[in-house]
Symmetry: C2
Subunit: 498 residues, 2 copies
């Protein structure tokens, strides 16, 4: 075993180095590289990806992982988990016929520009043949990767969020359908108009100053990661010591960049607070997509859209933009940042209506995979279901079925993790509130106590455990979607959010 | 041979991908990475460097290079040159005993922080034992790598600038000593004071705007590379399609950033104008350090400090900073940017006194290597020689013998390429002037015609030929330092530089 361990450790070092390369090249492409250089740089990146891929598909590596797996009882907890995950990922990769894998990569490469054109022109017909092939491949994938425990859609769901299968998601989305859909219908019946003060222009350099202030409020140590600008905000990094975020400033939107920064700093805090001993392993970083999203949304919505948070920081915002917010009370500001309205586009949705966008996608993915919905009928199905949940009908497919890129990338089974993240954040909030008064801690001016609790109960484990295990350790319970719906209904039933 | 060629091409693809990684990681470290992340990132970089190193030291790669070398007559010119260079570099690497190589890497790693401390405190004694060992190693290196043609200092010189040996450099530096030293003494006897207008504060955001304008004047296509800021300006990139530069803005210096941008855009133009067919080879990029420096200095000094250039652009500068330069004539501005003064620090020296700083270092490196100067006597020798050439004596070793980092890195033989670059630029200028009226072309407002000439006569070859060959092709002559001294004496003999 000693020899296997040595070999494994050496390969892992290289894998981590390639992860660093992947992070840096993608960060560069999205924030810095000039347009003309993208093509040439992509060619180098492809060579590096192949080198990295060959490390994990090396038969000697596979033998070594198998040997360690057979003797896993002798490994420490972190390495045992890592070896289990690695063994499954090698085994899954081997189950997919190489020619299908290559054909699918080519398909999604070709599908992407067609999808972009289809979205721009609102012409679903352009994208339809590609999506049909993508769905076909995903269906085949569920057959190749099926196990005794996982079949059909579950195979895909488990890839994006281990151990979360239809059984769990169905229970979750049923609660949403039963309790949240009627509540949302009631709350969106008469949306409040956007207040006049929010329609001003807000100087971008002042927004920058305030967003750096927010990073300080969230106790992010800037010695370990810059903030830049990109088209879409994101968090990127490697290990606990290099964690970067981006945001996007809009002159005609005061709060968009602020909530992006709170959201991304939530992701970044998760990465920063992993146990540093995980840095040399493959168990650093968040446990799953859903767990990561639970952290970003915890900070963005539960903390960032709370009255306690803004009691401490609204005066600073007013001062930064003086005199533009002089006549705007904290109450008016809070109503604005918690404004609810039925809208067509998921990424622009408010906290309350957001999960229904995911509910719609979850139902559609199920039907596409089990064949009860044909791709050609997708636009009309989308529109009728959308009308049912939101009471409004998309005027075109650009803001309807074509709005998201995920399916064009071949990602079926990804969407549910977004709603799951919100639901987990509410369950964590409930547990945290038993330990200390969250609102009171926010009045102190920073998120220090909150960071500490999440660090101790969630972040420190990195991805050395499965997300459902971490949730159980942190809250003492299995996933329970009622905390989320309770939270939303309680919050949005109030007349005055300040 | 077909099999060897296939293997070689596959390895080369990986080597280029690692070059891309090297470029990107170093760019990131110097422009973006937060201080706290440097250590963790360096560890990944070390793993990647080792992987790249193992590619070239792979015995199969060596056999393959040897096979291609034996059949080199059947290869195209570029590949033949590449194989020759690769074979020499593999053969050189093998001549150095591994334990010495490792010990030297460790020595320079340890020497660097000591050097920094020594420079800060002006205490040469701290650095002395390290420099003694570095000189010892370099002397041993000249023995390991000696050939029938190359011995002693020549071994080191040839590593930094192929085919430029003491015989050539001696001829060059003799001309400097005989013709330039007395001229400089005369010109620096009564330096003009810095004019009052130059002591104003110049808004950095206006400097940024003007520097972007300069990149347009030099016809640099910004679609292929950004400009950022860093402590020390540099150019970095890979291939012809990703070429980036940095500069540094000082509020109390109007022209520092401008000449940095002209200098770095000179380097960048060289990279951009290599023949695109060289992109997939190891023969892209500049031919040598000296050739690269010849291009940056051509643009910075011969073009950028010329009256014709500023006749076109000084009005734009005045407008950008209006009203700060309203009373300053073009003639006054030209006198300022061509101001000559004996000074202690090489990197801050003007065009005329600069080469004497290199002359001093060249003489010292010779003596250190042949043992006629002991490291312990270095500070006093430096100061006495400095006084002889410049007429002023360094007040301490910080601005004397400790000012440059090169020797701490183990780079002996590097300095001469700086002066060589300036000299080559003057020889190219002479050849170019036979083909068209350079000053007249500058009055058109861009460097387009100059770029074209350099592209056609120098840049397109990349590093597919040795630098002396390219100079011969471009000028029809071997290297001749008199063009340089003629140029300097002619320019600085004028009373009015406008």
């Amino acid at each position: 075993m000693k020899k296997a361990l040595q070999f494994y450790t050496a390969q892992r070092k290289k894998l981590l180095a390639f992860q660093y390369v992947g992070f840096l090249t993608s960060w560069d492409a999205q924030t810095e590289a000039a347009p003309g250089s993208i093509e040439a740089d992509s060619a180098y990146q492809a060579v590096l990806s192949e080198m990295s891929y060959r490390l994990t598909t090396d038969p000697e590596f596979e033998r070594c992982v198998e040997e360690l797996y057979q003797q896993r009882e002798g490994l420490d907890d972190v390495l045992r988990h890592e070896i289990e995950v690695m063994r499954k990922s090698i085994s899954d990769a081997k189950k997919i016929p190489m020619e299908d894998y290559v054909a699918f990569s080519e398909l999604t490469s070709r599908a992407y520009p067609v999808y972009v054109r289809a979205k721009q022109t609102g012409d679903f017909g352009l994208f339809r043949p590609y999506l049909e092939k993508i769905v076909d491949y995903c269906r085949k994938q569920t057959e190749w990767l099926a196990t005794d425990d996982l079949k059909g859609y579950d195979v895909l769901l488990d890839r994006y969020e281990p151990h979360y299968t239809q059984k769990k998601y169905d229970a979750f989305f049923n609660v949403l359908r039963e309790r949240l859909v009627p509540f949302v219908k009631q709350k969106t019946a008469c949306p409040a108009p956007v207040p006049e003060w929010a329609k001003q222009k807000f100087d971008v350099s002042k927004q920058r100053v305030f967003c750096e202030y927010i990073r300080d409020v969230m106790c992010f140590d800037k010695n370990f990661g810059v903030m830049k600008e990109s088209e879409h905000p994101f968090t990127s990094g490697i290990g606990t010591d290099d964690v970067r975020i981006t945001t996007h400033y809009y002159e005609d939107d005061l709060v968009s960049s602020i909530f992006s920064v709170i959201h991304e700093t939530g992701h970044a805090t998760y990465e920063r607070q992993c146990d540093p001993s995980l840095n040399g392993t493959l168990c650093g970083g968040g446990a799953s997509l859903g767990m990561h999203e639970s952290q970003s949304r915890f900070y963005e919505n539960i903390i960032g859209r709370s009255s306690a948070f803004w009691q401490a920081h609204y005066p600073v915002l007013q001062k930064t933009f003086a005199p533009q917010l002089d006549g705007v009370s904290l109450g008016e500001f809070m109503s604005y940042v918690n404004r609810v309205e039925a809208s067509f586009v998921r990424t622009e949705a408010d906290e309350l209506t957001y999960p229904l966008h995911i509910l719609l996608r979850y139902e559609i993915e199920q039907k596409l995979l089990n064949g009860s919905l044909a791709v050609e009928d997708l636009p009309s199905y989308w529109n009728s279901k959308f009308t049912e949940y939101f009471g409004i009908t998309p005027p075109n497919d650009t803001v309807g079925v074509l709005q998201d890129v995920h399916w064009a990338y071949g990602d079926i089974g990804y969407f549910p993790t977004y709603a799951l993240g919100s639901a987990i954040s509410a369950q964590l909030y409930h547990a945290m509130s038993k330990d200390f008064d969250v609102e009171k801690s926010l009045l102190s001016g920073t998120t220090k106590q909150i960071n500490q609790w999440l660090g101790e109960h969630v972040h420190k484990y990195g991805s050395s455990k499965y997300p459902d295990e971490i949730l159980r350790i942190a809250t003492g319970e299995d996933f329970d979607p009622n905390y989320y719906v309770d939270y939303l209904i309680k919050k949005y039933s109030k007349d005055n959010l300040a």
